[in-house]
Amino acid sequence: MMKFATLLRKPPEWMLLDGPHRDIVITSRVRLARNLDGPAFPGFAKKEDRTTVMQELQPVVEGLPEMKDGFSEDLGGLDAIRKQVLVEKHLISREQAAKSGGSAAVINRDQSLSIMINEEDHLRMQSIRSGLDLRVAYAALDRVDEELDGLVKFAFHPRFGYLTACPTNLGTGMRASAMLHLPGLVLSEQVNQVIAAVNKIGLAVRGLYGEGTEALANLFQISNQHTLGEREPEIIARLERVIEQIINHERNARRKLVEDQPHKVLDHVGRAYAALRYAHILESKEALTQLSMLRLGSDLGILPSDLGRTIDTLLVEIQPAHLQINSQRKLGPEERDVLRAETLRQRLAGVPEPRPESLQPPVDPEPPVI
């Protein structure tokens, strides 16, 4: 099995790949909720019963071919910082991080699949991919689901589908989402309109770390709300169509900004470059905002095009738990802000100055959707 240190050091597969629409969609994720037929759900089960379920499920999940040489740990065996690192890497949920014994996380070697045991449901399985790639993310998870289906008996009802602790997950138990970087829509003040429109058609919009979190770094998670009454491929196709439209809106917004307000764009990118290269104290929120502007600069040709990947890595590495684990001690907020600025200065040291003359509007990689 993989050690925590390896998990920490190894970049996840999605960060190394360039999925479709990578300039706007950072990741695509699909999650399935499953429960065993019989035992009480984790939130209502007695401690012994929860432990029994975990002891039954953990070896089964570890034994899946996809999880070979992966990471597997009882949450009781991880300290608060290590649990938080897994949250910052989007491998476990904040809810699971709050748990200790009787709950486990199993993560595959390339960190594209993570399976939480005894979170809100007996199983919460997640697949993560680079760019807009929901179908492939679902296909990977569907295989895991199929394999597990042959090994354990899932709670299922012919009318309600897969049974979950919360009725909001009933049916398919599936939540598909994409993480979008929308600086163009934020700068042109159109993002609230887009969010309202997305909400109106039954999709949810959340911040960087899920429900109730702020839309930091101009990052927005869009996901399906409904899990019952539609088949999995239909849910994914609908979500994908909406996301493609948002991508078009974002490209148009960026194009318009470049054409109408080039100085505004250059100013944002220039200030971000200066702050990230030369600041000595950086709070999390400011660092994330500036990284967002730097990524925009890279997408618009002012900064090297391969900078995007470094930025996506940094969005995770400058989070509190990552800073603390890398410095191997617990840090106060002020110390973290100093260390954050230092990390950013080091990691961005070789980045050449912005080149305003290279500013160019985004090009559509594909013909626009009608």
């Binding site: 089960a45 008996k153 709670a155 009318r159 979950t164 019952l228 539609e230």
Partner: protein
């Protein structure tokens, strides 16, 4: 199953109640259920009833609460937390959930993936019926492309001799 009170008639009324964290079950025949006030809208207390077997004691007026026989989840706790206790809870509380599910979801019937054990030959979980309704809607709304797709799907799911 025999009635727990008269030990003669066949039990047709099955009750479960949680009292001081302990689950109590009782099976009654129609007559005894009526005599013990189960049909009484004010309800009864199971424990008192069990203790009062054959003594003709007064039945308490505490309303009986719907409880999951598998995990002991009660209607009150479910209402309060919005979470169910186990899969069997959906049998216990599912009936009254249609309104809730309608507000939460696209539909009230699952149409997606089915685990191997639930795939019973000759039963399709209402999928064909569901597809037929959607086909009618699509035709009525003149969405012919969708209608064609649905027709193909129905054909695939229906044995040739019963096909429309």
């Amino acid at each position: 199953m025999q009635c727990d009170v008269c030990k003669q008639n066949k039990a047709t009324v099955f009750l479960t109640q949680i009292e001081k964290g302990k689950m109590q079950k009782v099976n009654l025949c129609e007559t005894c259920a009526h005599a013990k006030g189960v049909a009484d809208p004010k309800g009864f207390a199971l424990v008192e009833m069990l203790h009062g077997f054959g003594h003709g004691e007064k039945v308490a007026t505490q309303p009986q609460e719907r409880t999951c026989p598998n995990c002991g989840m009660t209607q009150t706790t479910f209402r309060k937390t919005g979470r169910l206790g186990c899969g069997a809870c959906y049998q216990t509380f599912g009936e009254g959930m249609d309104q809730l599910l309608k507000a939460m979801h696209k539909g009230v019937r699952h149409t997606g993936r089915v685990p191997a054990w639930a795939k019973v030959v000759g039963r399709d979980n209402g999928r064909v019926e569901d597809l037929r309704v959607r086909l009618e809607e699509a035709v009525a709304a003149e969405r012919y492309e969708e209608a064609g797709r649905l027709r193909d799907e129905i054909r695939q799911l229906t044995p040739p001799e019963t096909a429309v």
